[in-house]
Amino acid sequence: MNKKYLREDIIRMSGVNPKKCMRCGKCSGTCPAYDEMEYHPHQFVSMVESGDIEPLLESDSLYRCLTCFACVERCPRGVEPAKLIEAVRLTAIRRQGANRLTPNDIPAMLDDEIPQQALVSAFRKYTK
C-alpha cells in the first residue's frame, strides 16, 4: 500500500491527529506494557506522523497494548496514542491471513478459571 495512503487511512480510522503531539513522552512514561514493546506509544505517534508505518505493522508491539487508555487519559495534548495503535493493529490483522489468534491456538491457553471475557476480548483484538 502506498505510504501516504496508509498514513491517511490510519489517521482517518483512529480520528487521531499525530501533529498535536509535542514529544513529551508521557504516554511512554505511563504505559504499563512499555517493557514488552519494541515500539513504544510515543514512537507509534511519531512514526505514523512521518509515514514510517510498515515496521509498526510487522511488530509484536501491536499485540502488547492493553488498551488501558492510560496514555489517552494522561496525554497533555489530547493525542490519544492508544487509538492510533488500535488503528495500526486493525490495519495489520485486516490483511489476508494475518490473524494473530486462531481458534486452534485457544485450548493451550485455557485454564479452569479463565473468564469468557478474556477469550472474547482477545479475539476482538487479535483476529478479524
Binding site: 498535536k20 513529551c24 512514561g29 495534548r77 489530547g78
Partner: protein, 664 residues
C-alpha cells in the same frame, strides 16, 4: 453653506507622476461649496501650509479638503494648519490620493479619475462637517494599585517617588505577595526576603503611600482621570493604628491548630496571627473562622494580654470611597490546583509537593527552618524527582491544565535542583523535562551549571505515574533519549505546577471594564507597543496579571506602568477625542441597546425631565454618553434602533454623503 478650499498636493512626483493634479484641482472646483481650488508641489512644507493659511484668509474659507497622502501621515499637520488659519481643526478632510491612488494605479487617466472621485467624497463630507472641540476633564492626582506583591510594590514606589500619592489595596493581611514566600531567586541566588523586605519597609514609610491591607476593591465607577473606587476593609478585629505587632497575642492564643496559608498548610498558626516576621503592616489579624471568642463568645485571651488594647471583637467591615486618576492592576498569580493531576499522587502523598511548597521547605523562615525534610515523616530525602510542565502546555481540549507555557518553571526547577545538590550533596536529583526553556540573561548558563557542576540528572521525558508505596514514591517515567522506561523509587517529588491569574482578577476586570484573554490574563492595549496599558483608558497592568513572568520582568513592567501613570497624573486636564458618540435625547427611546454593546461602559441612562409642547413635563429615560470615556468606535450608532445615536466626525449623514459622491 460652507466655503471650501481644495488643495491638491503633488508630493513631488509621488502623486503628480500618475495623477494629473491640475485636472483634479480643476474638476473639484465645480463641486458644491468649493470656492477655491489649487495645487502645489509639497503641501505639507512650510510654504504649502502658508499657502493654505493665506488662502483661508483671502477667500474666507470655512472648510478644507487636502488631496494628499494618507491621513495617517499628515492629518494632524493639516489640522494644525487650519487652526493657525483660524479654523476649527476638525473642518479638514483628507482625500488619500497617494497611498490609495497614485501609488497603486499606473495609468494616468485612471488615477486622475479616481483622485477626482476621492476628492469629491471628501468635499461632500466637509460640507457636513461641524466644528468639534475635544472635551476636557480634570485629573485626580492620586493612583490606586490593586495588589501588593512585588509588581504592586514597585509600581507604587515609582509613582510615589515622582510625588504623587498612591494607595495599595492588598487582600491579604500583609503586602509582599508570592515573592515573600520564595527562598532564593534565580539566576543570582540572592535571598528573596533580603531584597524584598527593604522595599516593603520603603512602602510602609513612604509619605505618599497608604496601604489598605486585608482589603479588596468592590466597586469602580468613573473613567480615566476620575475613577471612584469603593474599597472594603475587612474587619481584622485589631485596631491597626494601635497594634504594635509585639506578637504577645499570637503566642498566647489557645487556638493553635489553624493551617498556615503562608506556609501552604505545611504547619499551623494560631487564630490571631501575623503572617510572617517582616509583615507590612506588622499588625495582628484575627481569623474569624477559627477564633473561639468570635465563634462562641468565650475566650478573650488576646484581648487580656494585649498591652496596647488593640483587640476589638466588635470591629465591622468598613467601606471607603476614594477618587483616583489612574488604576494599576497587579493582582498576580497562583499555582493551579493539582486535583486533576492525581496520576502524580499529589492528593495521595504528603511527599508529593508543588514547587512553591518546596520554596517554603527550603526557606529558613519556613516550617522546617530551612532544612529540607519530607513533610510525611520529617526525614531527609535522598532521592528527589522534579517534574516540569505539570499543567502547562496542555491542549485546551484536555480541560485539565493551561495551554500556555508558564515560563518561570524551567528556571526555578534548575534553581531548586542546584540548591539541593549544593546543600545536600548526598542527594540524587532528577529533573524530567520536555524542553528546557531558558531565554534570559544568564539563564541558560545557570541551567548548564546545574547539570555540569552540580550533577543534576536532566532526563528528557515525562513522568507518567507516581505510586506511593510505603515510604517511597515509585516514579514511572520515560527517558526518550535512551529509549527506556525508568522506575525511580524517590523520597520526594516536586511538581513544577502551571501558574494562573489570581481568581479575583475576573471580577475585577468586570468592574474595570478591562478585557481579559481566554486564560483570564489581562490584555494589553497593544501586545507590542502598549504592553503595560489596558485597552481601557486609565487602567494599567503590572506583573503576572498580564501573563507569566519572572521577577526581573515583573519589576521592569511595574516601572513601565508607573511611568505611564506618572505621565497621566502630571497632566492637569485631559483632552479627549472629540469624535465621540452623542445621543439625540428627543429621539432616544430608552431601550439600553447602546449601553449593552459599549465596550467601555461610556453610556449610562438617566431620567430626564422634558417639556412637552402642551407645557406639561414628562420624565423619560434617555441615554447619555460620557465623552471622556467614549473612544469613538461607533458600535452604538448601528445598534440604536431609533437612530438617536450618532458619531461626531463620522456622522451617518457624512458617511452617506461620501457613498453618494463615490457612486455618483
Amino acid at each position: 453653506m460652507q466655503r471650501i478650499g481644495v488643495f491638491v498636493c503633488w508630493c513631488g512626483s509621488n502623486i503628480a507622476g500618475t495623477v494629473d493634479v491640475v485636472a483634479v484641482a480643476e474638476a473639484l472646483k465645480k463641486e458644491p461649496g468649493v470656492v477655491f481650488s489649487t495645487d502645489y508641489q509639497y503641501m505639507c512644507s512650510q510654504a504649502g501650509q502658508d499657502l493654505i493659511v493665506s488662502s483661508v484668509k483671502e477667500h474666507n474659507l470655512t472648510g478644507l479638503v487636502i488631496c494628499s497622502c494618507s491621513p495617517r501621515m499628515h492629518e494632524a499637520t493639516f489640522r494644525k494648519t487650519a487652526q493657525v488659519a483660524g479654523l476649527n481643526p476638525y473642518m479638514v478632510e483628507i482625500a488619500n490620493i497617494r497611498e490609495q491612488c497614485s501609488w497603486v494605479h499606473k495609468d494616468m487617466p485612471i488615477g486622475t479619475e479616481k483622485a477626482i472621485i476621492l476628492g469629491k467624497a471628501a468635499v461632500a463630507k466637509v460640507n457636513l462637517n461641524a466644528p468639534l472641540t475635544p472635551g476636557e476633564s480634570p485629573v485626580t492626582k492620586r493612583a490606586l494599585v490593586i495588589g501588593g506583591g512585588i509588581a504592586g510594590i514597585q509600581t507604587a514606589l515609582d509613582i510615589a517617588d515622582a510625588g504623587f500619592p498612591v494607595d495599595i489595596v492588598e487582600k491579604k493581611p500583609t503586602i509582599g505577595g508570592k515573592m515573600a514566600q520564595l527562598d532564593k531567586t534565580f539566576p543570582t541566588l540572592d535571598c528573596a526576603a533580603c531584597i524584598l523586605t527593604p522595599k516593603m519597609v520603603d512602602v510602609a514609610q513612604h509619605e505618599n503611600i497608604r496601604i489598605f491591607s486585608y482589603s479588596e476593591v468592590t466597586d469602580v465607577k468613573g473613567f480615566i482621570g476620575n475613577f471612584d473606587v469603593t474599597i472594603k476593609k475587612n474587619a481584622r478585629f485589631v485596631n491597626e493604628d494601635i497594634c504594635t505587632g509585639c506578637g504577645d497575642c499570637v503566642t498566647k492564643c489557645p487556638q493553635k491548630k489553624v493551617p498556615n496559608e503562608f506556609n501552604l498548610g505545611m504547619d499551623n498558626r494560631s487564630a490571631i496571627y501575623i503572617p510572617f516576621a517582616q509583615a507590612v503592616p506588622k499588625v495582628a489579624t484575627i481569623d474569624p473562622a477559627h477564633c473561639t471568642m468570635l465563634k462562641t463568645g468565650k475566650c478573650g485571651v488576646c484581648s487580656k494580654v494585649c498591652k496596647a488594647n488593640a483587640i476589638d471583637y466588635t470591629q465591622k467591615d468598613e467601606f471607603i470611597t476614594e477618587r483616583y486618576g489612574a488604576i494599576v492592576v497587579a493582582t498576580g498569580f497562583d499555582p493551579i490546583s493539582m486535583d486533576k493531576f492525581d496520576e502524580f499522587a499529589y492528593n495521595q502523598s504528603k511527599d508529593v509537593i508543588t514547587s512553591l511548597e518546596f520554596e517554603r521547605l527550603t526557606n529558613a523562615a519556613g516550617p522546617t527552618a530551612g532544612k529540607l525534610l519530607r513533610p510525611s515523616d520529617g526525614e531527609h530525602p535522598h532521592k528527589i524527582v522534579f517534574v516540569q510542565c505539570v499543567g502547562s502546555r496542555c491542549d485546551s481540549c484536555a480541560e485539565k491544565g493551561k495551554e500556555y507555557c508558564s515560563k518561570i518553571c524551567c528556571m526555578y526547577t534548575a534553581k531548586h535542583a542546584m540548591l539541593t545538590r549544593d546543600k545536600y550533596p548526598d542527594t540524587e536529583v532528577y529533573v524530567f523535562y520536555i524542553d528546557v526553556r531558558t531565554p534570559g540573561k544568564n539563564f541558560d548558563e545557570f541551567y548548564r551549571r546545574a547539570v555540569e557542576e552540580y550533577d543534576v540528572h536532566y532526563i528528557k521525558g515525562m513522568v507518567g505515574k507516581i505510586t506511593p508505596e510505603g515510604k517511597k514514591l515509585m516514579v514511572r517515567a520515560s527517558d526518550l533519549l535512551d529509549g527506556k522506561q525508568l522506575n525511580i523509587d524517590a523520597d520526594l517529588v516536586v511538581l513544577a505546577t502551571a501558574i494562573e491569574p489570581d481568581k479575583s482578577a475576573r471580577s475585577l476586570a468586570t468592574m474595570l471594564t478591562a478585557s481579559m484573554d481566554t486564560n483570564d490574563f489581562f490584555t494589553e492595549a497593544h501586545p507590542k507597543l502598549r504592553p503595560v496599558e489596558s485597552p481601557t483608558a486609565g487602567v494599567f497592568l503590572s506583573g503576572t496579571c498580564q501573563g507569566p513572568k519572572d521577577i526581573p520582568e515583573t519589576v521592569s513592567q511595574a516601572g513601565a506602568a508607573a511611568s505611564k501613570v506618572i505621565g497621566l497624573l502630571a497632566k492637569d486636564k485631559l483632552k479627549g477625542n472629540p469624535c465621540v458618540a452623542s445621543s439625540d435625547e428627543l429621539m432616544c427611546n430608552g431601550c439600553s441597546s447602546c449601553e449593552k454593546v459599549c465596550p467601555y461602559g461610556a453610556i449610562t441612562y438617566e431620567n430626564k425631565e422634558f417639556r412637552m409642547p402642551d407645557r406639561t413635563t414628562r420624565v423619560r429615560r434617555v441615554a447619555s454618553v460620557n465623552p471622556a470615556v467614549c473612544q469613538g468606535c461607533g458600535c452604538c450608532t448601528v445598534t440604536c434602533p431609533s437612530g438617536a445615536m450618532d458619531l461626531r466626525g463620522f456622522m451617518n449623514e457624512q458617511i452617506m454623503a461620501e457613498v453618494d459622491a463615490i457612486c455618483k
